[in-house]
């Protein structure tokens, strides 16, 4: 076993200097996530990360990701630091992520390197992304501080990258097949299928001089009634129960089908990928539970399709090129059949074309510059009355430079965004002549960013990527455009909206040591070899963020649609993110990985200077739904073919709006999830250890999860009850 671990790094070296650089870094960057080591897996993976990031991401990947009792990407992201999830409950409920309290529309979500857009409302529902074929989730505050990337990657205040599984073929296997079936509470039926096929090459034993090509197909179906029991209760001041009511959450059903397929390939100098994605669903919108309304009946249909392609090639020692292209077509139908409310049957169709061309030039070995140019076209059509069919043309140009002076690495970037919009008001009734040509003004905005890291103790051994201590700092100013809904939604939209800006300052450190990874790494392990203690990573960041010109719905006049979007908000956020992760190898071959996150955030609303009432005023008070304290804990243990996981999420007290009074108070909530799993090998290998050869032997894995073990009754969003104790059984077959 020990030998096996050591062999692979040499194989990596065999691939040449170029790949070595990649893989060593990958091993370092991936450290935070895959602690029950998967060197072998990494060994045959070709990774896109050619260049070191100045500030590494928080990552969840590999086995840890699989074991976190997560149904979707949104569930998994709860275990990252500095993140708040807004979850409306259930399997079909909307789940959005808010990074460092700046608002979910400032978070860019990238799927295989290309951003998932939503020009209509700017929000990506992370509840829809299954973890089935996601191999890694990484979260970057500010931006991914990598030099060669599309201009778009420089543009958001926080960034989440979702990376689908890259094919890998152990022992020249021609294919991999994974079948998964999940079932459990909420009448869940969730089969999925993954098939990777080696078309050409992909032979690690002989190096990578050929053109390697593989295909991948992934399909998943989810069906759930979304029914669960929830309970609301109140007590009198003396502690006796005033009322206590239990009901079944209704209209939370979902049926969704996801189909993905792609081709991926690489040569020594080039990697490419073509990926198609289709998601089609029908769901109920369970809605708010209010007095006398225990059931809602709104429905939503989605059909999201995109096709994207990516190519990166090292032309020569000094020049590297990355090309991305995407077409997306999103259809949304929202229906309110409830006759006690306004009847609605709205259909929205969005389209997007995206092209990106990024170049990296090496001026000196330690000085790179890059120029990236993106172009994007968005259009939204809807069957709303008086809808103006907006079209948006966005051009992004990013200039970046990365320098390395010994222990110091700096990346600076400047992104220019040029936006031109057209809206068709002609022929609409109720429009004044002076309004007919109104669309949002053309915009030119600059987003500067600078990232610095300092790694002492690198000394003469700077060839090794494993430097235990890193100090880092960044500054970034970015913005989000008002969405099409903000600007043009009939009667609510406001075409004079300006973009919403964020400014971020961050200061932090990371300390990471890894024992017994390889002989090479061990030289840097200050504590020497330790069998029990396998590794530690600590990081802490303090930050100050400002959101200005925040787009807020405010009431206007007395019409039935009495809201209007305005740039009136200002928020100041002061926070602390900390993370500790440790790995242990206990006696009896028990591997234990423990990770804890803690986040403190003071997010103050400075929107309304007149609202200074000492008790109920909003000026300087904590904004809606942001807890002061939040955190998570995960313990992942494995013993031979058994795994046991415990995870805990805590969200402290908060208020559901900036008036921090008792009526708006939300209690803390915390849930514990446990799971247990066992892997069976259907055919034994010589070594007898499945975990080091996961793809070479057919394996069958059974796991059972119990979520919210203590049946805590809680709301994340006011009047949207979350499920109590629920369970899942997962069967997985890998061939």
């Amino acid at each position: 076993m020990k030998n096996k671990q050591n062999i692979f790094p040499f194989k990596q070296f065999a691939l040449g200097f170029f790949l070595t650089k990649i893989l060593c870094f990958q091993a370092f960057a991936g450290y935070s996530s895959d602690t029950i080591r998967t060197h072998e897996i990494e060994g045959v993976t070709i990774v896109a990360q050619q260049h070191r990031e100045v500030i590494p991401a928080q990552r969840l990947s590999g086995e840890k990701l699989e074991r976190l009792n997560s149904h979707s990407v949104a569930d998994a992201i709860r275990f990252l630091s500095g993140v708040q999830i807004k979850d409306f409950g259930g399997i079909g409920g909307l789940k959005t992520v808010n990074v460092r309290s700046m608002g979910s529309q400032h978070v860019g979500v990238f799927y295989n390197g290309i951003r998932i857009g939503n020009a209509q409302n700017g929000v990506v529902d992370l509840g829809r992304f299954s973890l089935d074929n996601i191999e890694e989730i990484s979260l970057y505050n500010g931006q991914r501080s990598r030099i060669l990337q599309p201009a778009k990657d420089f543009g958001t205040a926080g960034t989440i990258y979702l990376r689908t599984r890259r094919p890998r073929f152990e022992n020249n296997k021609p294919y991999n097949i994974r079948m998964l079936f999940r079932t459990g509470s909420f009448d869940l039926i969730n089969p999925s299928f993954l098939w990777e096929h080696r078309i050409r090459g992909w032979d690690t034993e002989q190096g990578n001089n050929t053109h390697n090509i593989a295909s991948s197909v992934s399909a998943e179906y989810v069906q759930s009634s979304g029914r669960y029991r929830f309970r609301y209760r109140r007590v009198l001041p003396d502690g006796t129960v005033a009322w206590d009511t239990t009901a079944i959450r209704q209209n939370g059903d979902i049926q969704a089908l996801r189909l993905e397929g792609g081709l991926t390939g690489f040569t020594e100098r080039t990697q490419w990928q073509v990926h198609n994605y289709l998601y089609s669903s029908e769901r109920g919108i369970p809605g708010a539970i209010v007095n006398n309304v225990w059931k809602n009946s709104q429905r939503q249909w989605d059909r999201n399709f995109f096709t994207q392609a990516s190519l990166t090639t090292v032309v020569n020692d000094r020049y590297e090129l990355l090309i991305n292209a995407k077409y997306a077509h999103d259809f949304l139908r929202y229906q309110n059949p409830d006759t006690t409310l306004m009847l609605i049957d709205n259909r929205f169709t969005q389209q997007e074309i995206y092209l990106s061309f990024a170049n990296r030039f090496s001026i000196l070995p330690n000085w790179d510059i890059s120029l990236a140019t993106d172009f994007q076209w968005n259009v939204l059509d809807a069957n709303l009355q008086n809808f103006v069919r907006p079209t948006r043309y966005t051009t992004l140009v990013a200039l970046a430079t990365a320098v390395e002076f010994g222990n110091v690495r700096i990346q600076a970037s400047l992104l220019g965004t040029f936006i031109n919009e057209q809206a068709d008001w002609r022929g609409l009734p109720n429009i004044l002549p002076e309004q007919q040509t109104r669309s949002a003004e053309n915009r030119q905005e600059l987003s500067p960013a600078i990232f610095v890291s300092y790694q002492p103790f690198a000394g003469a051994r700077h060839v090794s990527p494993i430097r235990p201590l890193q100090f880092r700092a960044f500054y970034k100013r970015s913005f989000r455009m008002p969405t099409f809904n903000d600007l043009y939604y009939t009667q609510i939209g406001n075409v004079s909206l300006r973009p919403e800006f964020t400014t971020q300052f961050n200061l932090g450190f990371q300390y990471a040591i890894d024992m017994g990874r390889t002989t090479m790494d061990a030289e840097y392990a200050p504590f020497g070899h330790s069998r029990i203690f396998q590794g530690l990573q600590i990081s802490a960041d303090v930050y100050y963020n400002e959101v200005t010109d925040k787009i807020v719905a405010i009431p206007r006049g007395s019409g039935q649609f009495r809201w209007m979007m305005m740039n009136i908000g200002r928020v100041e956020i002061r926070g602390l993110d900390t993370r500790v992760e440790t790995n242990w190898l206990l006696p009896h071959d028990i591997r234990l990985q423990a990770a804890a996150n803690y986040t403190f955030q003071r997010a103050q609303d400075f929107s309304d200077p007149t609202d200074t009432d000492p008790r109920a005023g909003t000026w300087g008070r904590q904004i809606a739904y942001i807890p002061w304290h939040s955190g998570s804990l995960s313990l992942l243990a494995s013993f031979r073919s058994w795994t046991f996981n415990y995870s805990f999420v805590y969200v402290g007290e908060r208020y559901h709006n900036s008036s921090n009074i008792r009526e708006n108070h939300e209690r803390p909530w915390y849930t514990s999830d446990i799971s247990i799993g066992k892997t069976f090998q259907l055919r034994r290998t010589r070594s007898g250890r499945m975990q080091y050869a996961p793809m070479s032997v057919p394996t069958f894995r059974v796991s059972a999860e119990i979520n919210n073990v203590f049946n805590q009754q809680y709301d994340i969003v006011l009047n949207y009850p979350m499920p109590g104790t629920n369970f899942r059984i997962i069967l997985r077959l890998d061939i």
């Binding site: 209760r233 109140r234 007590v235 009198l236 001041p237 009322w243 009511t245 708010a288 209010v290 007095n291 006398n292 309304v293 006759t339 006690t340 409310l341 009355q385 008086n386 009734p429 429009i431 004044l432 002076e434 309004q435 009939t490 406001n494 504590f527 020497g528 070899h529 330790s530 069998r531 029990i532 530690l536 807020v552 405010i554 009431p555 206007r556 006049g557 007395s558 019409g559 649609f561 009495r562 209007m564 006696p587 234990l592 609202d611 009432d613 909003t618 313990l635 415990y646 805990f648 559901h656 900036s658 008036s659 009074i661 009526e663 209690r667 915390y670 514990s672 805590q712 006011l718 009047n719």
Partner: protein, 398 residues
């Protein structure tokens, strides 16, 4: 971290140490679980918050109730009470008066009236009318009417408008509104009469019910009529064309109806009309935007909040109309400049005995509002925090 203190790494297989490490891990887990599950506070029924605001006043009016609408989906319709006899403002009284009612008062309060000894609160998004004892706010019963809007009374019956009539089979999804007739003794709906689309306020005068049809869901094809219902036959007998998107209708003592139009938020502004009940014809129009009004004697107090799409600002006015002369007496009844403090005027009431004027500020509709009290000369007397979107007043007599 602990490992730092250990001079030499612990060898792997020593049985005693194995046990200790495992035990510590397990203990920590169990302790943290127990700790974390045991101490979660319970949510308590809200006790009213009280604020002494002014000196006691004794006359025929005991006080007034103020219904706070609460933003839709928040379930935060609340009831406040101001007691003249003590000068104390009681905030959020429903929950403690009715601690056994699940989910409190409900979602979006839309109207508040007293008839006989009972207080009726129309809770729009909870699809109900809450019926309470007027003196104690203790619940008597509930009348379920979907999307119910406003309520008035006559001869032992309550009449309530609702948007939620039958839906037309064509794709316009047009949904006719109705007026429900409710027996106040049994709290049962005894009859319905269909009127226009999305009927709002109603007024009962001379054996007829006048209903302001808005057509608010029909944008851009608003309704523009008052429906006239004969009380005796309980059937619609006539439509009076007034203006688009009608909202409020109040009768004065001269036999005229004062009707407001919301306009269309684009080109057609909000306006005030009077309709003669003898001829059923529009008598005239006043050039003032009206979002809410209160009639005291011959003075019609109006507040206007009209959004101007060109300046992107809400234009606010506080007017008085002489309903006898049918002219605007004042466009700003607040005389001491304190109207600058009011961000989004929303509800209005005038004490019939003292002439004191009450105006509520709904601010941004999601945080608590403010109640402003002015004397009859328009000078600010006091102000107090209310619930979210304070809107509807009713005076409680002895």
């Amino acid at each position: 971290m602990r490992i730092k203190d250990q001079p030499t790494p612990v060898p792997t297989g020593h049985p005693r140490q194995r046990g200790i490490i495992l035990k510590i891990c397990l203990m920590l887990m169990v302790v943290s679980c127990l700790f974390l599950t045991s101490c979660r506070e319970e949510r308590e029924v809200f006790e009213p918050e009280t604020e002494r605001i002014t000196y006691p006043v004794f006359n025929a009016i005991r006080g007034f109730y103020l219904l706070n609408e609460g933003n839709m989906g928040s379930n935060k319709a609340t009831l406040d009470f101001f007691c003249y006899e003590t000068g104390i403002f009681h905030r959020n009284i429903f929950a403690s008066a009715n601690p056994d009612i699940p989910m409190e008062l409900g979602d979006v309060g839309n109207d508040l009236q007293i008839y006989g000894s009972r207080l009726y609160a129309v809770i729009n998004a909870s699809n109900k009318i809450e019926v309470m004892d007027a003196q104690t706010a203790r619940r008597i019963g509930q009348i379920n009417i979907p999307n119910v809007r406003y309520i008035r009374f006559h001869g032992g019956y309550a009449f309530a408008t609702s948007y939620a009539g039958p839906v037309s089979p064509d794709p316009t999804l047009a949904q006719i509104g109705f007026v429900a007739k409710i027996d106040t003794a049994t709290l049962e709906v005894v009859a319905r009469v269909y009127v226009g689309f999305q009927p709002d306020e109603l007024e009962i005068l001379n054996g007829k019910i006048y209903v302001a049809n808005s057509g608010g869901y029909m944008f851009p094809n608003y309704e523009n009529t008052l429906s006239v219902i004969c009380l005796e036959r309980f059937a619609e007998i006539e439509r009076i064309e007034v203006a688009i998107n009608l909202h409020r209708v109040r009768a004065d003592r001269h036999g005229n109806l004062w009707v407001t139009s919301r306009g269309d938020n684009f080109n057609v502004p909000s306006r005030l009309f009077w309709v003669c009940t003898q001829t059923h014809e529009v008598g005239g129009e006043l050039d003032i935007a009206v979002s809410n009004l209160w009639l005291a004697g011959d003075s019609l107090f109006v507040i206007g909040t009209e959004f101007n799409r060109l300046t992107m600002e809400t234009e606010i006015s506080f007017g008085i109309i002489d309903v006898n002369k049918k002219e605007i007496v004042s466009r700003n009844f607040i005389t001491d400049g304190t109207e600058q403090q009011i961000r989004m005027p929303y509800g209005i009431a005038v004490n019939p005995i003292t002439g004191n004027i009450y105006v509520t500020d709904a601010r941004n509709h999601v945080t608590p509002g403010t109640l402003f009290s002015f004397d009859r000369y328009g000078r600010l007397r006091w102000q107090v925090r209310t619930g979210d979107i304070p809107a509807h007043f009713v005076f409680l007599t002895r």
